[in-house]
Amino acid sequence: VGNGLGVLVVDDDPAMCRMLVECLCAAGFDATSAHGVDEALALHRAHGYARIVSDVQLGARDGFALLEEVQAGGPATRVILMSTSGSPTAIRRAERAGAFAFLTKPFDPGELVGLLRA
């Protein structure tokens, strides 16, 4: 995981999680999934991922909350947020909060791969 290829995928939709993990693994990443913010933070504390891809709409504690906690732990981790709402407001908020990128669902997984390799 420390080699920079570890990626944590966070989405409350299990099919979406599974698809992204399979895609990223096929592209050579070491991808793991979590379905909520708490689970994601626990995994991140244990493994220290270099890249986290998280949905925004995750319930009471959303992707922005996850982004904030991860940022507090240090700048080593890049967080990419994804959402079905690509509103300019959401995009600006993500930029200000320090997200590495913002993807509007549905997006091409190839794009995500490109961003992770950047």
Partner: protein, 526 residues
């Protein structure tokens, strides 16, 4: 009390106050005795009869005269007539009588002398009509006057004049007709409203006066009949005056009755309600627009909700389709996976458009070559159009690029082309034209030769979920989305049709885009 007060007769009159044994008294007695039948007739006459001698002394004063002048015959016989004339008329009156006496005429009929003014013993002046005759009796010239008090009639005439004056100042047209529909009253407002002068209107049938307008002959008779039946009739109608002035009239008709209560005619009060009606119409239209905007906003919210819910599953499908495209070995399978991925991308684009519609506002814009976008849209349906036997006619004038979103504008043209194709199941001509009717504006027309759109449908084509396509074939959102996109570009879209003559959708777009709306940041690293 004025010097002319009859209760204070002039000294000269006082000298002759009593009918005495003199000439006047004798003549009076002779008159009274001359013919009992005549005397009875005079006494019973409804009109006042007063006989005077050539010195204007009263010789006969009948009962009606007593009532008229409020004086007893016994008190006035032998006295000068002057006491029953206002002082200012006395001199003129004496001259008149003298002239009449010198002239050869023996009588002047009632009213020929014009109005005379009498003076009652109580001091009240009153108008009267008089006739006068003269005769020689016992060597004396006598004058007999028959008087009719017209103060009552005069008052009612005055009242009528006043009422007419009042009605003339009424803002509404007031017209009275008799039961045959002939005009008997016509105020000033009626002159303006119907463009017919009072002189031309009075005594003429209303039907004839309306002949040059859009009011059909026979309407007047119908209105009179309706008023006779129910006592009242109200109507609002479009009116085109003789000079071509258009407007709306509201007319309220009531039954007129004569003094005996018998129906005598119709009084019609007409108001020009054009302004009121236009204001009302504008108000209703604004309300309708506001309601449509509200509905559209609701639809947009709903659409956004659905788009969000399908966004994630669509993403899963897209991802797996791409993985299959790479992992499958059979080229045909790989192509199938590729088609799935492509179709998902298409749906994703539609979802993005719907989201954009739900979220009007800042978005990126660039100069768009409409000819290319139109050709791309036509190319998309080339096969479908060919199979339907639809011929495509392109009429592109050179136009400047339009600032906007090419993908979203293409969505509009795709919608219009699909609709046009669906309107021509048995073939026809699809005409797409591009023109710049004025600097800064580009016009796109998409016209079909289908069966056209009825007026009722035409008024609803931009309503959400309104569709004429069979259930399951149209969402009823295509034109709503199209209109939203055109509006976002600061343009307008309208539908035109003549039944049987096909339909045409006309889009006007300003070349500078959405009226200078600020464009936002590009949405994400896509």
């Amino acid at each position: 009390v004025s010097p002319s007060d009859p209760r204070r007769p002039a000294p000269r009159s006082r000298r002759r106050a009593r009918p005495g044994p003199g000439t006047a008294g004798r003549l009076a007695r002779e008159l009274a005795d001359s013919d009992p039948l005549l005397a009875g007739l005079v006494s019973a006459a409804m009109d006042a009869v007063v006989v005077v001698d050539d010195e204007q002394r009263i010789l006969l004063f009948n009962a009606a005269a007593e009532r008229m002048f409020e004086a007893k015959a016994g008190e006035v016989l032998g006295q000068p007539l002057d006491r029953f004339l206002p002082e200012r008329y006395r001199a003129a009156h004496a001259q008149q009588i003298e002239r009449f006496g010198r002239g050869g005429l023996t009588s002047r009929r009632m009213g020929a002398l014009g109005r005379v003014i009498g003076l009652r013993a109580g001091g009240e002046e009153f108008p009267a009509e008089a006739s006068i005759s003269q005769a020689e009796v016992g060597g004396h010239r006598l004058f007999a006057a028959i008087l009719r008090d017209v103060s009552e009639r005069s008052r009612s005439e005055e009242a009528l004049r006043r009422q007419a004056l009042i009605l003339d100042q009424v803002h509404e047209s007031v017209v009275a007709l008799d039961l045959a529909g002939v005009v008997v009253f016509w105020n000033q407002a009626a002159e303006r409203l119907f463009e017919v002068s009072r002189e031309d209107a009075l005594g003429r049938p209303m039907d004839a006066l309306l002949a040059a307008t859009n009011i059909l002959p026979g309407v007047v008779a119908e209105v009179v009949a309706a008023v006779l039946a129910s006592g009242h009739h109200e109507a609002e109608n479009e009116f085109v005056s003789a000079s071509g002035r258009r407007g709306y009239h509201h007319t309220s008709c009531s039954l007129l009755r004569d003094a005996a209560g018998r129906p005598a005619g119709v009084i019609a009060v007409t108001q020009d309600v054009t302004e009121r009606r236009r204001t009302l119409e504008a108000h209703l239209e604004a309300e309708l627009r506001a309601r449509r905007a509200g509905e559209l906003a609701e639809i947009a919210t709903l659409t956004a909700g659905i788009a969000h819910d399908v966004g994630t599953p669509m993403n899963t499908i897209l991802g797996y389709a791409q993985m299959l495209e790479r992992s499958l070995t059979d080229p045909a399978d790989r192509e199938r996976a590729s088609i799935i991925a492509e179709q998902v991308r298409r749906v994703a684009r539609l979802i993005r458009t719907l989201l954009d519609l739900a979220r009007r506002g800042d978005r990126a814009s660039a100069p768009v070559d409409l000819a290319r976008v139109l050709d791309d849209a036509l190319g998309f349906f080339r096969e479908k159009l060919r199979r339907r036997g639809i011929e495509v006619e392109r009429d592109y004038a050179p136009v400047p690029p339009v600032l906007g979103d090419a993908d979203r504008l293409q969505q509009v043209f795709l919608n219009l082309i699909v609709n046009a194709a669906d309107a021509m199941p048995d073939g026809g001509v699809l005409r797409v034209s591009l023109a710049s009717p004025e600097p800064g504006v580009v016009e796109v027309r998409v016209r079909d030769t289908g069966e056209g759109i009825s007026e009722e449908v035409l008024s609803r084509v931009f309503d959400p979920f309104f569709t004429t396509k069979p259930r399951g074939q149209g969402t009823g959102l295509g034109l709503v989305v199209s209109r939203g996109i055109v509006l976002d570009h600061g343009g307008t879209i309208e539908a035109r049709s003549e039944p049987g003559g096909g339909a045409e959708f006309l889009i006007r777009l300003p070349v500078d885009g959405a009226g200078g709306r600020p464009s936002g940041p590009a949405s994400g690293p896509t």
